[in-house]
Amino acid sequence: MTRDHRPASDFRQARQPARRPPLTRDQVRGFWFLSPLFGFIGLFILIPVLGTIADSLFRDIVYLPVRFVFLENFRALWADPSFWSAVRFSALFVLVSVPLEVLLGLGIALVLNEPFALRGWVRACILIPWAIPAAVAGRIFQLVYNFSYGAANYLLDLLSISREPLNWLGSDLSAFIAVVVADAWQTTPFAAIILLAGLAAIPEDLYGQAKVDQAGMVARFRHITLPLLKPVLIVTLLFRTIQALRIFDIIFVLTGGGPGGATESLSMLAYRHFAAGDFGYGSAASVVLFLMAVVAAIAYVRVGRFQET
């Protein structure tokens, strides 16, 4: 090797100055620090999602040779009434349960934002449903709705609403209500806690000033609480929407999707096919759900960024 022979890269560097400053040592170190994070999320979330998307284009059934079928699974899904009933259920569930939970959560948050005796205890207690696994909550409510000896029918009788026991999980409507109530029990605390934090962030001075300005309780809520809470409310709504879209645990345990598939969510539909060994079809269903979640997630992130500015 001759001494004056410069490596080619030097010439390139000389001719074309770097556009952006090179990474500092700390930045390089930072990417090392982030690499386990990227590694885990990549290997166990991103690649699986991509794999599922790819798999949705194959006929992948456990006892058959794998074959590329392009959009065949989606076409079959489109023609499958149980797919549409799952979509309808998921949409209805989001539309009913999310506003209900956020409203209930708001109510609880408003109460817990006021000083009263034992407030700390009440606040701790609302965390209990949140801390219980959804599958266990599903079991509890399965018993609550038991036809012969469940608490729901006992309450109907006790409150003189109905002497006849109601077969809660037996009709589309009552099973839907049953799922919504069970889910509300499990997830309202989360909404309440987030909203409570939002309420606590509203400066007390504003209420004082409003009182000086002779605003009543309702007026203060409408003109101070609601507008200032709006960003947190939106975040909570979106957060809950995304979680409600993918509901699985409670339904799996409580209704199994019944009666007649009336409470089957998209997650359930996909899982059922995976469990039966029909991976391509199940993947297609989860891709649809995934796309719905992505739309919601983008909305969430956009709102997040919007709030920042």
Binding site: A18, R19, R20, P21, T24, R25
Partner: protein, 381 residues
């Protein structure tokens, strides 16, 4: 050990583009000096300190500690802070809140893997020197502001650094404590004879404490020298007004020459310039200039070079600051009692030897001949 900054530049990428925090900065700090870096906030003085400490990497230029290059963008040399044997005292003291005072002070020694008994001895000696040897078992949260400050200094001193960096170390103390600590800091620095960079925005601190002062503005060195030189021979109007309180008056004037003399015209009044200024005046373009006079060099007389009306007075106790409206300019005058009431017409006299001359425009912050290092390429068309 002396410190040498050569053509040092630092740029940050922010959301709105590239910001130059330091531009082509040259400075040499002598061995054992207490060197003050002075400037308003955002002038780049903290960046300079961080670069010296190794907390940031220069975008261009070189830093030398003695003969050793500790950072050079061009040669791709960069020593980590731990490899530079620097110590630093932070404005917030940055004491480790979960460690006791002893552990705080011992921390750098432990990182250097000194032996345990050696560490104990060093910590105790340093703590004794600073009068905090009875606080060693406490946590930082249990200390007063002044005590915390001492712990921070002790932590910096304990391993006998070759360079000591102080980032506004006194600004979190109240006024009385600040004076006392200032003196003590000076004494300690002299005792240890460690080369020290001291960053502050407070010109009084700079004047009283420093061997040398470097004045920065928008990432550039404006002037470096002894406090005396900066006060008496400010290089630019910025230097003139930043140092000294109340600040120097800058009066717009026109420079004129005859065959043998230089004159400055202030409004319609002709002011003769002293012989000492002639050389300076010769370097200025004839025409619009700024005439600088410190408020303490103006005095009230019956007949002076300037005339005006007192608009406002402000008592400093021993002295009084007057604002005098002189033909459209406001001039500050520092004078003893007895007070003169506002609304009075006065004449002001000054010694022509006390006059400074400056060009009417400040040197440009961004000379057009040197494009920014990593800016966008010029657009064509």
């Amino acid at each position: 050990m002396n410190i040498c900054f050569e053509q040092l530049s630092k740029q940050y990428k922010t959301g709105r583009g590239v910001v130059d925090a330091l531009r082509a900065f040259d400075l040499t700090i002598g061995d054992g000096q207490l060197f003050i870096i002075l400037g308003p906030s955002g002038c780049g003085k903290s960046t300079l300190l961080n670069l010296a400490a190794g907390l940031e990497e220069p975008s261009a230029g070189t830093i030398r500690f003695g003969e050793r290059v500790v950072a050079s963008a061009e040669e791709h040399i960069f020593l980590e802070p731990g490899e530079r044997n620097v110590a630093m005292v932070f404005q917030s003291y940055a004491l480790y809140p979960h460690m006791k005072v002893f552990d705080n002070i011992a921390f750098p020694l432990r990182n250097a893997r000194r032996k345990a008994h050696e560490i104990r001895l060093s910590v105790q000696r340093t703590a004794a020197m600073l009068g905090i040897d009875d606080l060693l078992a406490r946590k930082p949260a249990e200390l007063s502001g002044g005590q915390r400050q001492r712990v921070a200094i002790a932590r910096a001193m304990v391993r006998q650094p070759s360079v000591l960096l102080l980032d506004e170390p006194l600004s979190n103390l109240d006024a009385q404590l600040r004076m006392a600590t200032r003196a003590e800091l000076k004494r300690l620095q002299m005792e240890m004879a460690v080369t020290t960079l001291y960053v502050t925005h407070d010109q009084t601190e700079a004047m009283t404490l420093g061997d040398q002062v470097a004045l920065l503005k928008k990432g550039r060195l404006v002037q470096a020298g002894t406090p005396y030189a900066l006060y008496h021979h400010p290089a630019t109007p910025f230097a003139a007004t930043f140092i000294g309180s109340p600040p120097m008056n800058l009066i717009p004037a026109r420079l004129a020459t005859s065959a043998t003399e230089y004159y400055a015209w202030v409004n319609d009044r002709k002011i003769a310039l002293s012989a000492e200024l002639k050389a300076k005046a010769a370097s200025l373009p004839t025409g619009r200039i700024l005439l600088g006079i410190r408020p303490e060099h103006l005095r009230f007389t019956d007949q002076g070079q300037l005339e005006g009306v007192i608009t406002y007075t402000e008592s400093l106790g021993r002295e009084i600051v007057y604002r005098v409206a002189c033909a459209g300019h406001e001039v500050l005058v520092l004078a003893d009692h007895p007070a003169r009431e506002t609304g009075r017409s006065v004449a002001l006299a000054f010694d022509s030897a006390a006059v400074h001359l400056f060009p009417a425009t400040e040197p440009a912050d961004d000379p057009p001949d040197k494009p920014p290092l990593h800016g966008r390429p010029p657009r064509h068309g």
